[in-house]
């Protein structure tokens, strides 16, 4: 059994851990509010962008000559996966959920005999994936220095992807991120961004005819690269809200666990203290009796 002194030290150390997790929870809660706000503020842009593209692609007359970003290369041999994770840990299952989703997709691709390429965004994903898929990772981007998710970072990732697409380094691109549902629930998502999945979205494009200036093809070829960046940005916003939400609930749990642990240790401490006193009393009494 641990001595009184040891128990005292453990209680103190658990208490200070609890203080840290409590502080982290507070910070995450504050950041979550901001992240959620910006995720909501960012929604109109991506929705409008999506609408315009849907309208455009339904207006395209010559499907065969549609830009490759929309229609794809016609192959599906090389898959590029962009795995978006956080740069910091201690956020519960946030990163491992994305990785799990991504890994199951990877093994499907590999078992079908297709080539796999990975870009990781965020250092935590890179850390976890490089053990198993180290040779497949072609790029690792990390935005440790930017405080919030911003469009310029997303644009950088978008440019990397488009650059690789234009050099025909892959056929299909999928991004992995966590969609923010609420503080306790984040849903890992796999979203195909190249070629664009227009069938997926509800078919509510108006039949109204638009005037295009310049023509559809030119607008589309200008718009599609921007859409990639927009989608990435959306994923980044959802991710950062999810990260904070996940961290908040993880730290809440940790604080509660630490509290339980302190209670348990305190009971143990009191018991052994009492046992020591009783023992001393017995010694004194039996010593007095023997006289």
């Amino acid at each position: 059994m641990a001595s009184l002194d040891d128990l005292k030290k453990r209680i103190a150390s658990v208490k200070s851990t609890q203080k840290i997790t409590k502080a982290m929870k507070m910070v995450a809660a504050a950041k979550l509010r901001r992240a959620q706000e910006s995720a909501e503020n960012g929604r109109p842009y991506s929705e409008k962008m999506n609408n315009v593209i849907l309208n455009l692609s339904s207006g395209i007359s010559d499907k065969d000559n549609a830009p490759k970003l929309l229609s794809g290369t016609g192959n599906d041999k090389v898959h590029l996966c962009v795995v978006m994770t956080s740069d910091r840990g201690l956020c519960g299952g946030f990163n491992s959920n994305i990785i799990k989703k991504a890994k199951s997709y990877f093994s499907k691709i590999v078992s079908e005999g297709k080539e796999l390429k990975i870009i990781t965004v965020g250092s935590k994903g890179n850390d976890q994936l490089k053990r198993m898929y180290g040779d497949k990772i072609i790029e690792n981007v990390s935005f440790k220095n930017s405080k919030n998710a911003n469009y310029f970072d997303a644009d950088k990732v978008g440019k990397i992807i488009i650059d690789k697409f234009e050099n025909s380094q892959f056929d299909i691109c999928t991004i992995f991120y966590n969609q923010f549902k609420n503080v306790i629930t984040q849903i890992p998502q796999a979203q195909q961004i190249i070629p664009l999945n227009t069938k997926d979205s509800k078919d509510k494009t108006s039949e109204e005819s638009y005037e295009f200036e310049p023509d559809e093809d030119e607008i589309l070829s200008n718009l599609l690269p921007k859409n990639i960046s927009t989608q990435i940005f959306k994923a980044m916003l959802e991710n950062s809200a999810s990260e904070q939400g996940s961290r908040m609930s993880a730290m809440d749990n940790a604080t509660r666990n630490a509290g339980e642990m302190v209670d348990k240790l305190t009971i143990q401490y009191n018991r052994s203290r009492q046992a020591a006193i009783t023992k001393e009393l017995i010694e004194i009494i039996s010593g007095a009796e023997s006289l």
């Binding site: 109204e208 638009y210 295009f212 718009l223 921007k226």
Partner: protein, 130 residues
């Protein structure tokens, strides 16, 4: 009948501006400036660097944009852009910063004709408002 229509400018971070009482908007479309009044035909176009001029009942406003997409439909004008600044609130140093960046870009020799054209446009517009 009123002659007003709605304008909404959004950038990736937020909804930048919403106005309901716009009389006319002039946007720097890729193939030339384009004035939009109420009941314009539905149109989609994209922008080159330039000034968006908004004439509304509550006052006129000018915005500098670097790129974007405009969509006009059912008397509602949506402008999607990644870079937008209110000309009135741009201070001198910020303008000079933007101009410097644009000039640097225009000075590059290894860029395509189209991006060169866009960069030159940027410089022109920024010199104008400086």
């Amino acid at each position: 009948m009123s002659e007003e229509f709605k304008i909404e400018i959004v950038n990736p971070e937020k909804s930048f501006l919403v106005k309901e009482d716009v009389l006319e908007t002039v946007v720097p479309a890729f193939e030339g400036e384009m004035g939009i009044l109420k009941d314009h035909i539905s149109i989609i176009s994209f922008l080159k660097p330039g000034i968006i001029k908004i004439f509304s009942k509550s006052g006129n406003e000018n915005y500098y944009v670097e790129d974007g997409i405009v969509e006009f439909k059912n008397n509602s004008l949506s402008i999607l852009t990644s870079n937008i600044f209110n000309v009135a609130s741009l201070d001198k140093s910020k303008k000079e910063n933007l101009l410097k960046k644009a000039e640097e870009e225009a000075g590059k020799t290894d860029i395509s004709d189209q991006s060169k054209y866009l960069a030159d446009q940027k410089v022109q517009v920024l010199r104008l408002i400086n």
